[in-house]
Amino acid sequence: MEQVFASVVFNRHLTGDYWLLEAEAPALAASLLPGQFVNVRIEGSAAPYLRRPFSVYRVSRDRRRLQIAYKVMGEGTGLMTSSIRENGRCDLIGPLGHGFSLPANAKRIAVVGRGIGIAALPTLADEAASRGIEVHAFLSARTRPNLVALDIFAEYAFPVVTHTDEARANALVTDALAALAQKVRFDAFYVCGSNRLARAVHALAQKQNVPAEIAMEQHMACGFGDCHGCVIAVNLRPSRGEKAFKEVCHYGPVFQTWEVVDASA
């Protein structure tokens, strides 16, 4: 983990509400594990005050560059579109947190993402691909253009099931996963970006007795464990009961689904 003033390769509109930022940051890119994130400072402006956390979307093959796919939400991400410029620099801290783990002999995994949650999945897909693991993607978003990363799954010819609210407002993309899981065996599930999907994935994982991981979000001040600001309530044992607050930036962002599903209820 370190602070890097990365030189910006590009920062441009990606698709839908998303922008894509690519920066040269070998020190971070080289050691980054799937599911880890970086914390971005918007320089040259007194506001926003805090950094903004983003999953690393992709690492270049030579592991010198990394990408962030970010949705324009409020002041911070709005300013990112205008103030982070090609050939300029970008103040990054990373890699942060604990990422996804792939079971040792996994053959096939399912990744489930919704909205900006999808942005956490490509690094996992890359890692799985490099280990010869087959990835099935189940991606959901409000609108079709907001389904980022379709091109990445296509690169590997991984099967992708998509869902948009425009098309089928009340269905869940995990319905397709549940149906498929009756036929083929998945060695692990991964989910990100929706509580509803997390609950569905968790239920499925429990039924099939396979591990399931979830990448969590929480408002952060530091991103590197110093402020104790980004806690969520987690179950200390799968059977529930005892709970504790854990920092998403330090113990997460990736947790076992049993740790977090229903923990704050």
Partner: protein, 324 residues
């Protein structure tokens, strides 16, 4: 030109430079020096500990506000045995004076944790975080009550031979009186300001945003108030001051020192710009050189034309006013 002398002694603690960190704003689950060697700073102030395990406040705990951070972490804490087993060995290895911050819910809890920390023999000083509601006395923070803070500091004084620093939260009506109280009770230094209480309400839900409802405000936004308070307390007491509240760079360090601080702490900025302290140290050195100041201590109180022509009236400074 000769390199300026950056060292200072505050509350008997020798610091190689006047820069330190605000309690709770530096140090990662017992890991220090994530970004630069902890020995860069003149002293390390650690996160406040309690005598017992405490989960802290419910999320959300942090919320950004213009030029600042609104937060309510609630001083989560492991139990003492964990602290001894896990943190103490790490702290022992650091080559920097360590000031351990402590808190209690009652006088007895304060005294107990002070005693334990003293006995460890590894600390250069103890900071009493007085921002805890004194539930026995109507729930006003110890640090907002001249009498309660006097009694508390007096008992802590009796429980340790280590330099004792009383950390005060921002206040207006009683600040100088509390400062005089803790001085009279034997505090060797005063640390100020802790983050003032604050609240943000979501206009959509019309409910407080932070899990604890009431939180604190820290960062740049509070700096002008914090500087004023250091300035006021400098005129009210003779013990040295650790100044803090929104420090971001060497200019802020100079501002706090000119107001009367002998040492200056970096707080919220550590979350945002973790290299702020080492950079400020460098810039401060250059500033002293460029201004022909050979000893950093010359900055202390420089904003006061005449320390003895005090703006706060004489009556407030009489020793007899201090509750005993």
């Amino acid at each position: 030109m000769r390199a300026p002398d950056l060292s200072t002694t505050i509350a008997g603690i020798r610091m190689k430079n006047p820069l330190t960190v605000g309690s709770g704003t530096y140090g990662h689950h017992g890991v220090f020096g994530q970004f630069y060697p902890v020995e860069t700073m003149g002293a390390l102030v650690t996160k406040t500990i309690r005598s017992h395990r405490w989960p802290g406040n419910p999320p959300p705990r942090v919320h950004e506000v213009p030029s600042g951070l609104h937060s309510s972490v609630g001083i989560p804490c492991n139990d003492w045995d964990y602290f001894v087993a896990h943190d103490v060995p790490i702290l022992k290895g650091l080559k920097v004076p360590i000031i351990q911050s402590v808190i209690g819910r009652t006088e007895d809890e304060y005294v107990e944790i002070v005693r334990r920390c003293s006995e460890l023999g590894i600390f250069a000083g103890i900071e009493l975080n007085l921002s805890c509601p004194n539930t026995k006395q109507g729930g006003v923070d110890f640090g907002y009550d001249p009498e309660a803070s006097f009694h508390l500091v007096k008992r802590a004084r009796d429980a340790t031979k280590l330099p004792l620093i009383a950390k005060l939260a921002p206040d207006y009506s009683l600040l100088s009186r509390v400062a005089k109280s803790v001085e009279a009770a034997g505090a060797d230094a005063i640390s100020l300001v802790n983050a003032p209480r604050a609240m943000c309400i979501d206009y959509r839900t019309r409910k407080p945003i932070i899990g604890n409802r009431v939180g604190a405000l820290s960062g740049t936004a509070i700096k002008p108030m914090a500087v004023y308070m250091v300035w006021e307390v400098y005129r009210a007491v003779r013990v040295p001051i650790f100044g803090m509240g929104g420090v971001t760079d060497y200019r802020d360090v100079i501002e706090f020192m000119a107001a009367g601080a002998r040492a200056v702490a970096f707080g919220t900025i550590n979350y945002v710009d973790p290299m702020a302290l080492p950079r400020a140290l460098e810039d401060l050195t250059t500033y002293l050189q460029e201004n022909g100041i050979e000893d950093v201590n010359e900055l202390v109180g420089a904003a006061h034309d005449d320390r003895d022509e005090l703006l706060i009236p004489a009556e407030n400074r009489l020793e007899s006013e201090v509750p005993v």
